[in-house]
C-alpha cells in the first residue's frame, strides 16, 4: 500500500506552511491518504488542540494511492520538517510505502543536488474530528491581519484568552479578555487586558444567534498556529464558537473562492475550551439582563447537572489494522456527538473527551504515541490505557471539589485587577454569591453515584458511562439547572459606561 505525489513551485510553499502550522500543535504527523485527497493531522499532547490540513488530489502535480483505498501512517514532525530546510527546491517527490514502513522524500534542488530522505513511519491510530459548526451560535469572519493586530494588544506571555460575544444590541458586543488561571497564582500581579470590538468595523461578517452572552476561553498559542497558517496562505480566518465547553473552530476563509471546488486545500483547527464561563462583568451583566427579561422561561430540574449539551463519553477508535471497537452510544442509539458534513469517508471515529475540556460533538482519536499531558485539562492517560476504571474514588472527588470551593472563595476575596476601568458594576457582588452556590451544587453532584456527571469540570477523568434518555436531553431542550440558582441576588447591574475609545478601536 503506498501513496505518491509530486509537488512543484507554489504547492511546495503551501505544503511547507501547512506542516509548519501542524508542528506548532503536535509532534506527530498523522497522514491519511485517500484517492481524492490527503489529510495531515496532529493533536497536541494534552488533547486540547487538533489541527488538520487537507490537500485535494488536484493540488499536486501528480497524486496516486496504489494497491488500496486508504493509506495511514504516522511520521515524526521534526523529521518531515527537516526535509524542508533546503531552500530553492524545484520539485519534491513523496513516496510512502506502508509495507516497508518508510517514507521517501526526494528533493530536486535548483543547484542540481538531488536529496533523498528516508523516514521511518510509525503505527498511529486514525485521527478525525467532526464538529457541526453550523449549529454554533457565534460565527465570524475577519481578516487575519485584523485578528493579529487585536491580539498584539496582549502581552507575549499570555497563555489563554477569553472571547466574549454579547447579545445583539449592546455596543461593541465582542470582547477579547486576558485569562489568567487562578490556579497558577499571580492573578493580582498579572497584566489584564480587555479589548472591546465593534464587529461591523473589525470583522468581515459576524453572526451571533445566541440570546445571551456567551464566551469561550482558548489557548492563545494554539490559536495563533491557525493565524500564522492563514497569514502564510493569504486567507481570512473564520471562527465558530458556541458556549463554554464547546470547542472553538477556526479555519481559513478564502476571499475569492466561490465554492469548495475553487479551493484545493483546506484546514481546520479545533480548540477545546474551558467548561467554566469567564466572560467577566460585561457578560454577567448581559446575562443577568437577559435572564431578567426571560424570567419564567427556565425551569430548574433537580440534580444541578452542569453537563454541556451534546455530552461526551469515552470512545475508542478503529486501529489501522481495521479492528472494530465499540463506541459509546447516546440515548438515541447513535454515536455520541453531533456530526457535520466533514466526517471522513471512513466514517465516524469515536473520540476521547477530556476532563475539564471537552469536544461535545467532536470526535477525536488520540494517537498511540501521544504522551500523557499533565495539564489541568488532560485525562489520566495511564489509567485509561490500562483499561482501569478511570473514575477517582468518591472521597478523592470530594476533596477535589472542596479544593475548588476554597479556591473560588479565595478568588472572590481578591480585589479586582488593577487597570480595569472602574464602572462600579459587576465586581461588587456577582462573583461572591453565584460562584459559591454554583460550586456547592457541584459538590452535591459529586456525591451522587459515579457516572451521572462526566463533564463535571476538573473533577477528574471521565468515566465510562452509558447514557439514558433521561440524562441526555437534546440540545434544544438543555436546561442549565444550576444557572437560576447561580443568579446573584444583587440588583440588576447598571449599564456599562461608554468607553472613551472610538468604536471599533482596539486597545
Amino acid at each position: 500500500m503506498s501513496v505518491r505525489f509530486t509537488l512543484v513551485d507554489r504547492q511546495l510553499k503551501l505544503l511547507k506552511h501547512g506542516l509548519q502550522s501542524l508542528q506548532k500543535i503536535g509532534n506527530e504527523l498523522l497522514l491519511e491518504a485517500l484517492p481524492a485527497r490527503i489529510v495531515l493531522r496532529t493533536i497536541n499532547s494534552s488533547l486540547s488542540a487538533y489541527l488538520s490540513v487537507t490537500y485535494n488530489a488536484d493540488f499536486f502535480d501528480s497524486y496516486d494511492v496504489l494497491d488500496c483505498t486508504v493509506v495511514q501512517a504516522g511520521l515524526l514532525m521534526k523529521h518531515v520538517l527537516s526535509v524542508f530546510r533546503t531552500q530553492k527546491v524545484s520539485k519534491i517527490l513523496f513516496d510512502l510505502n506502508t509495507a516497508s514502513c518508510k517514507a521517501t522524500i526526494t528533493l530536486h534542488c535548483e543547484n542540481g543536488l538531488v536529496k533523498s530522505y528516508k523516514l521511518p513511519t510509525m503505527d498511529s491510530e486514525i485521527l478525525q474530528a467532526t464538529v457541526d459548526k453550523q449549529q454554533f451560535a457565534v460565527r465570524l469572519t475577519a481578516e487575519t491581519a485584523a485578528i493579529l493586530r487585536l491580539l498584539s494588544s496582549f502581552h507575549a506571555g499570555l497563555e489563554e484568552v477569553t472571547i466574549v460575544a454579547l447579545p445583539d444590541g449592546i455596543d461593541r458586543p465582542v470582547h477579547v479578555n486576558s485569562f489568567i488561571d487562578p490556579q497558577k497564582g499571580h492573578v493580582d500581579k498579572s497584566l489584564y487586558t480587555s479589548v472591546q470590538v465593534e464587529p461591523t468595523e473589525t470583522f468581515l461578517s459576524y453572526v451571533n444567534s445566541a440570546d445571551e452572552a456567551t464566551d469561550v476561553t482558548v489557548n492563545l498559542k494554539d490559536f495563533k498556529a491557525m493565524l500564522s497558517l492563514c497569514e502564510n496562505l493569504g486567507t481570512h480566518i473564520k471562527l465558530c464558537f458556541d458556549s463554554p465547553g464547546n470547542p472553538l473552530v477556526a479555519e481559513p476563509h478564502f476571499p475569492h473562492a466561490h465554492g469548495q471546488q475553487d479551493v484545493d486545500y483546506e484546514a481546520e483547527l479545533i480548540l477545546s475550551t474551558l467548561l467554566e464561563s469567564h466572560g467577566g462583568p460585561a457578560a454577567e451583566a448581559a446575562a443577568a439582563g437577559a435572564r431578567a427579561a426571560a424570567a419564567g422561561l427556565w425551569a430548574a430540574p433537580g440534580g444541578g447537572d452542569l453537563r454541556t449539551p451534546g455530552g461526551a463519553g469515552i470512545y475508542q477508535v478503529d486501529s489501522p489494522g481495521g479492528t472494530n471497537v465499540p463506541t459509546v452510544l447516546n440515548g438515541s442509539g447513535g454515536p455520541v456527538g453531533r456530526t457535520s458534513g466533514r466526517s471522513a469517508e471512513l466514517g465516524q471515529s469515536p473520540a476521547l473527551a477530556m476532563a475539564g475540556r471537552s469536544f461535545p460533538g467532536a470526535t477525536v482519536a488520540r494517537p498511540s504515541s501521544a504522551a500523557a499531558g499533565q495539564s489541568r485539562f488532560a485525562r489520566d492517560e495511564s489509567r485509561q490505557q490500562q483499561g482501569q476504571d478511570p473514575v477517582p474514588a468518591p472521597g478523592q472527588q470530594q476533596q477535589q471539589v472542596q479544593q475548588q470551593v476554597q479556591q473560588q472563595q479565595q478568588q472572590q476575596q481578591r480585589s479586582r485587577p488593577s487597570g480595569l476601568i472602574d464602572d462600579g458594576s459587576a465586581w461588587r457582588t456577582t462573583n461572591t454569591a453565584g460562584g459559591g452556590q454554583q460550586v456547592q451544587q457541584q459538590v452535591q453532584q459529586q456525591q451522587q453515584p459515579v457516572g451521572l456527571n462526566p463533564l463535571g469540570g476538573d473533577a477528574g477523568p471521565l468515566p465510562e458511562v452509558s447514557w439514558d434518555d433521561e440524562e441526555m436531553p437534546d440540545r434544544e431542550e438543555a436546561v442549565p439547572e444550576a444557572i437560576p440558582d447561580a443568579v446573584p441576588s444583587s440588583p440588576p447591574m447598571d449599564p456599562l459606561p461608554t468607553s472613551t475609545l472610538a468604536p471599533g478601536a482596539m486597545m
Binding site: G112, L113, V114, K115, S116, K118
Partner: protein, 299 residues
C-alpha cells in the same frame, strides 16, 4: 627573524577559520623562504590533518631568511588574530621570534585614518612537537579517485547530512559517472551531485566507497566561511584516505607582491585570482570500527 605583512586581514581571518578546532592542541607554523607561510594541525584522534598554505604573493611583504617552524596552540592563535583584527586594521604583521620567543602579531591603521591605534598580541610558543606532514598520510603510490566540484555544493551536502547523526559514505561510480554522499541510520539521507558539476572525474575502480566520521567531514567542509563559490577537489586513495583541497580567495587587501607561478590544481587561473588564492587542505583517514577501538576518543 621571519616577518610577514598582509593587508587582506578579513581574508586571512576567514581562511584561518576554515581549519579552526575547539581542541587545545598545537599547530605547526612554518615560514618558508620559497613558498610562503603554512600551518599544519593534527586532531587528537590522529585521524585528520588540516593545513593552510599562503603563498608569498598574498603578502604585502614577506621575509624569511631560512625555514623556521614553531608551534602554537591553534585555538589561541586563531583567537589572537581574530581579536587584533576585529577593528579591521589596514595591515596585520606576523613576526617570529618575538619577545621571549613568542609570535608577535601587530596591526597598523591606514595612514589616512583619523585615529591611530596599534594593537598587538604575543602568543607564547610551545616546545617542538613531532607533527608529520600532511602528505605523509597520503601515499602517492596509491591509485586514487578524484573529482573537482563546487565547494558550496559540498558544504550544503555535509550540513544536511548532520541530520542523520551517523557516518557518511562517499560513493563514486565510474559508469555512468556518479558521485554521492549518503548516511544511513534509523533515517537515511543520500545526496547525489549533478553530473554537469563534476570536473576532472576519475574513478580507479568500477565503484569506490569509503566512510568517514561526520565530525571530520564537518571540520573539512563546513568551516569555510566564504560566500562566493570556490573550487574543491576530493581525492580518495585505494586505502580509503580522503584528501580535500579548497582553493580559497582572500577577500579585501591592498596592493599585492609581484605575481609568482602558482601551480593550482593543474588549472590556469587569472593572475589576479591566483594572487588572492590560498589553499586549505585536509586529510582524513577512513572510519573503521577496528580503528576506533585502537585509537580511542578523539576528543
Amino acid at each position: 627573524m621571519a616577518q610577514a605583512s598582509i593587508a587582506s586581514v578579513r581574508g586571512l581571518v576567514q581562511v584561518l577559520q576554515s581549519i579552526r578546532s575547539h581542541q587545545k592542541l598545537p599547530c605547526a607554523v612554518t615560514f618558508e623562504p620559497d613558498t610562503g607561510l603554512s600551518l599544519r594541525f593534527l586532531d587528537g584522534g590522529h585521524a585528520m590533518q588540516s593545513g593552510i598554505s599562503l603563498s608569498i604573493s598574498v603578502f604585502s611583504s614577506f621575509q624569511a631568511p631560512a625555514s623556521i617552524t614553531f608551534f602554537v596552540p591553534l585555538s589561541i592563535l586563531l583567537e589572537a588574530i581574530s581579536t587584533v583584527a576585529s577593528s579591521m586594521p589596514h595591515e596585520i604583521h606576523l613576526q617570529y621570534p618575538g619577545p621571549d620567543s613568542s609570535l608577535l602579531i601587530t596591526t597598523t591603521e591606514d595612514a589616512s585614518a583619523r585615529t591611530s591605534i596599534c594593537s598587538y598580541a604575543k602568543v607564547a610558543t610551545l616546545a617542538h612537537h613531532d607533527l608529520s606532514s600532511l602528505d605523509d598520510m597520503w601515499d602517492l603510490q596509491d591509485a586514487c579517485s578524484q573529482v573537482i566540484l563546487s565547494g558550496l555544493l559540498l558544504r550544503e551536502a555535509i550540513e544536511d547530512l548532520e541530520w542523520t547523526n551517523g557516518e557518511v559514505e562517499f560513493v563514486l561510480k565510474r559508469s555512468p559517472m556518479h558521485f554521492a554522499l549518503q548516511s544511513i541510520k534509523q533515517q537515511s539521507l543520500e545526496i547525489t551531485f549533478p553530473v554537469h558539476a563534476l570536473d576532472g572525474f576519475s574513478c580507479h575502480a568500477e565503484e569506490v566507497r569509503a566512510s568517514y566520521k561526520y565530525k571530520h567531514l564537518k571540520a573539512a567542509f563546513t568551516h569555510v566561511a566564504q560566500k562566493e563559490a570556490w573550487s574543491a577537489k576530493i581525492a580518495i586513495s585505494s586505502r580509503g584516505v580522503l584528501r580535500v583541497t579548497h582553493m580559497l580567495t582572500l577577500a579585501g587587501g591592498g596592493p599585492l607582491a609581484p605575481l609568482e607561478a602558482q601551480p593550482l590544481l593543474g588549472t590556469l587561473t587569472s593572475q589576479g585570482h591566483a594572487q588572492r588564492t590560498c589553499v586549505s587542505k585536509f586529510v582524513i583517514l577512513p572510519h573503521e570500527e577496528e580503528r576506533d577501538g585502537f585509537c580511542g576518543d578523539d576528543d
